[in-house]
């Protein structure tokens, strides 16, 4: 009962924000709010594999890109036929169905990519995942650059705008709650046991390969969803949005916030996204100043801004 009340309240609140916020703060700030939301989804999902399960993935942008391009191309090329199959529905409902189909496809494809990358590289103990995901992110980007049907190096334009503040933040909530509930379940204990001591986890009956892959696939699926939301908001995708630096900013977010902590990932995503925007005024010194902020945080809060040392419940 409480669950339903929570979601109902969340939906009403988000609809109210959707109706008013843009008028109140203007298009520029509205766009930043959306970007913050998408980065929260990315950071919280990356935290599941990097912070909670203790595996070092540095190719999150690859899954983000797969999700973005999957959803965008599905809706761009298939949107009209899906709409014509549902002529009796009002266009708002059609939009919603299109977006949900797009996001679902994004999640599935990104998840499958996660499975393909995860199975060979997570069977081994050590840094293999970092090496493989680093390469994977670049492979995806270069592949996209060379597929003309989705714009190649020109970028993919003309993507229907379907996502907005309501959808982005509804999925932010869904991501946070899913990851939190997972961590609080027996699955979460299995993930954390792998991070703490892989040999002991295996000896206590945790099939470590399986749970590392599971964590990685779930993480990739949410990155895919974030990509779908991004493409359907900006109406334009370019491979340069999915550079190695994108993955790296995400790692900065979860480290600054506190590895392993969901609150930390949220705080980190907000802080990094907003700081990078604010520092635009420094022109070429933008990243220098950003680096100084990071160094200061790491000196005074090496465990992250809201990182906890022990426990998770």
């Amino acid at each position: 009962m409480r669950k339903w009340a929570f979601w109902l309240a969340a939906i009403v609140l988000l609809l109210a924000l959707q109706a008013t916020l843009r008028g109140l703060i203007g298009a520029y700030y509205y766009q930043i709010v959306i970007l913050v939301g998408i980065n929260i989804i990315l950071a919280v999902s990356l935290n599941l594999i990097n912070g909670v399960t203790g595996q070092f993935s540095i190719g999150h942008a690859g899954f983000y890109a797969i999700g973005g391009y999957t959803s965008a191309s599905l809706v761009y090329y298939g949107g009209a036929s899906i709409r014509s199959a549902l002529p009796f529905l009002p266009s708002l409902v059609q939009d919603t169905i299109l977006l949900l189909i797009g996001l679902l496809a994004a999640a599935v494809l990104a998840g499958l990519a996660g499975l393909a990358v995860g199975i060979p590289s997570l069977r081994l103990r050590g840094d293999y995942l970092a090496i493989v995901t680093l390469g994977f992110g670049e492979i995806i980007r270069v592949l996209i650059l060379n597929i003309d049907a989705i714009g190649g190096s020109r970028g993919f334009s003309g993507i229907p705008q379907l996502s907005n503040l309501f959808w982005v933040y509804l999925l932010v909530l869904a991501t946070i709650i899913t990851v939190r509930n997972l961590i609080r379940s027996s699955y979460g204990r299995a993930f954390i046991s792998i991070r703490d001591d892989e040999i002991a986890a295996e000896a206590m009956g945790v099939d470590t390969t399986r749970y590392k892959v599971l964590s990685f696939v779930i993480s990739s699926m949410f990155a895919g969803i974030a990509g779908g939301l991004f493409g359907h908001f900006t109406m334009y995708l370019h491979p340069n949005s999915f550079l190695f630096t994108t993955s790296f900013y995400l790692i900065i977010m979860i480290v600054v916030g506190g590895l392993g902590s969901i609150e930390g990932s949220v705080v980190g995503a907000v802080l990094v996204t907003v700081t990078l925007e604010v520092f635009r005024r420094f022109g070429p010194f933008r990243l220098v100043n950003f680096a100084i902020v990071l160094v200061l945080i790491m000196i005074y809060r090496p465990q992250g801004l809201v990182g906890k040392r022990y426990g998770y419940s």
Binding site: I192, A200, E202, G205, G311
Partner: protein, 253 residues
């Protein structure tokens, strides 16, 4: 009938033969000691039994089923659990959480239950928690159940490792130097504890230990290994009088 049987096992690391044509047979309810000088191959034998290493030749059967080609997690599921010589607790977890991890493989909740937090999950989690607290109670750790495991004193961490291993519901329990670093009083308590859990959980216990007082006091049967080979097998009394054992430990004259 033997519950754990090692037949003709050999393990080489390059040119070093760590375990050489080893035979070992544990009957149900045995308190079995495995001793030998440093580097004799005791921990390698543990790692072979628990699936960390695969034997080059030979076989290991648990309750009649061959286990030497299985993953460690699968072997744990079939009922072989262990503690570690150098304590390997889950460092970011509380005492209670350390024990509950061992219940993961027996869970019935699915991913959907976990994400939606169904009543089935809540009920199961409650049961896991209750069982874990009960187990901690036996080890006198229940009062510190919600503290970080790494805050426990050394002796308690060793006991927590045994509690965690028991939470997997094992048939056979392997203890790798459980008395290491314990004072005489703690070792004495440990001896009582090992005997009482053997009876309470109907276990078969294999003990690797350097503390001779503990081994001789607890085990009815002792196997002595040196350079990966069995040099003696018998009761504590027989082992103490065996000239080969004395030579292995003290050197030949």
């Amino acid at each position: 009938m033997a519950i754990l049987e090692v037949k003709n096992c050999t393990k080489r690391f390059g040119g070093l033969v760590a375990v050489k044509t080893l035979h070992m047979s544990l009957n149900e309810g045995d308190l079995y000691g495995l001793i030998g000088p440093n580097g004799a191959g005791k921990t390698t034998i543990f790692n072979l039994m628990t699936g960390v290493y695969k034997p080059d030749t030979g076989s290991i059967d648990l309750d009649g089923k061959p286990i030497h080609n299985l993953k460690p997690s699968m072997i744990a599921k079939l009922g072989l659990s262990r503690t570690f010589q150098n304590i390997r607790l889950f460092r970011s977890m509380t005492v209670l959480e350390n024990v509950t991890v061992a219940r993961h493989m027996r869970k019935s909740q699915g991913l959907f239950d976990a994400v939606v937090r169904t009543d089935r999950l809540k009920k199961e989690e409650e049961g896991i928690r209750r069982d874990a607290l009960e187990l901690l109670n036996i080890f006198n750790l229940d009062k510190r159940a919600h503290e970080p495991a790494v805050n426990l004193p050394y002796g308690s961490q060793r006991r927590l490792e045994i509690a965690r291993a028991l939470a997997t519901n094992p048939k056979v329990l392997l203890l790798d130097e459980p008395a290491a670093g314990m004072n005489p009083q703690e070792s004495l308590e440990l001896m009582h504890l090992i005997r009482s859990i053997r009876d309470k959980f109907r276990l078969t216990v294999l003990l690797v230990e350097h503390n001779m007082k503990v081994v001789m006091g607890v085990c009815a049967k002792i196997q002595v290994i040196d350079y990966g080979e069995t040099i003696a097998l018998g009761t504590p009394k027989e082992i103490q009088d065996n000239p080969k054992v004395i030579e292995a430990y003290l050197g030949g004259a």
